[in-house]
């Protein structure tokens, strides 16, 4: 093969290889940046912390989560809180565990509502949509 031609071919190949690597790294960075996985992990963790806190106080209480969660579906059961979007693949669902005292139960489903409330009523901890004006007049 002509030496000049092969040099040009190598040069083209090298440029393509560098572009491929750069594209791959930018793709990885963009996929991490566009993902809301961090938000999901933090919100699900907050839910588990709220359950533990409510289990640790005497009497009844209700607390509102101070963030718009209208994109997500929450499922609360006796040991876990699950968070996902409609039509999510199982790998994208976030699940957090907690351990309640014996006799306590956690239940409830909240589908794509903006305001999430968690209420302790006796020995049951429920997740539900906040009622209108539920916290009006409170400090």
């Amino acid at each position: 093969m002509d030496k000049k031609a092969s040099s040009v071919l190598y040069l083209v190949f090298e440029v393509l290889a560098v572009l491929a690597v750069v594209w791959m790294m930018i793709s990885v960075a963009r996929s991490f940046a566009n993902s809301d996985r961090i938000v999901r992990i933090n919100v699900a963790g907050d839910m588990a912390l709220m359950v533990n806190t409510l289990a640790g106080i005497p009497g009844d209480a209700v607390v509102e989560y101070p963030q718009n969660v209208s994109e997500y579906i929450f499922v609360l059961n006796s040991n876990t809180v699950k968070m996902f979007k409609r039509n999510d693949k199982p790998v994208n669902q976030i699940e957090k565990n907690f351990w309640l005292p014996q006799g306590y139960n956690a239940e409830g489903v909240l589908e794509e509502k903006e305001h999430l409330c968690m209420a302790k009523e006796g020995q049951v901890i429920k997740i539900r949509e906040c009622e209108a004006d539920e916290f009006q007049g409170t400090v």
Binding site: K3, S6, V28, G56
Partner: protein, 155 residues
Amino acid sequence: MNSKGQFDLARKSIYWMIASVVITMVVIFFVMIIASYQSNLTALPPELLSGLVSLRFTQNTHCFAYQDTVTGKVYPGVIDLAKFNTERMRQCYSVPEEGGYRELNFRLVLVNSKIELVTNDYYHVDKLTTSQKVLVWNGVNFIEDTLQINTQVDI
């Protein structure tokens, strides 16, 4: 191809063999950096989780908090000595038998009363220790004591 051309070809081949390995390692390292950054953003301080979980020990009547049997009033921060036993501890906080060592486990010590309770998967690997002044109801009167909460985080 003449010998110089063959030499060039061989040189380039060796170069790309080494470069491809280095580039692969750089890409993998880059992905690990991003994953590590993500896990730093979602990390939960064990002190926070331990503090919130251990609230129940002194605040919840289904754990050790004293409740007046006549009025029904709950006294948060007051421990009922009659409840401060292993069976109550199991009812108050239990982790699964399988893999329970990955969850928080606790060792509670009433210092003056010299009573110690542990959760079901506690292996004496304390990572956090907090102490708080409490009152203890011994059935007759309230006495001052110190509740030491030792927390075993994921081992």
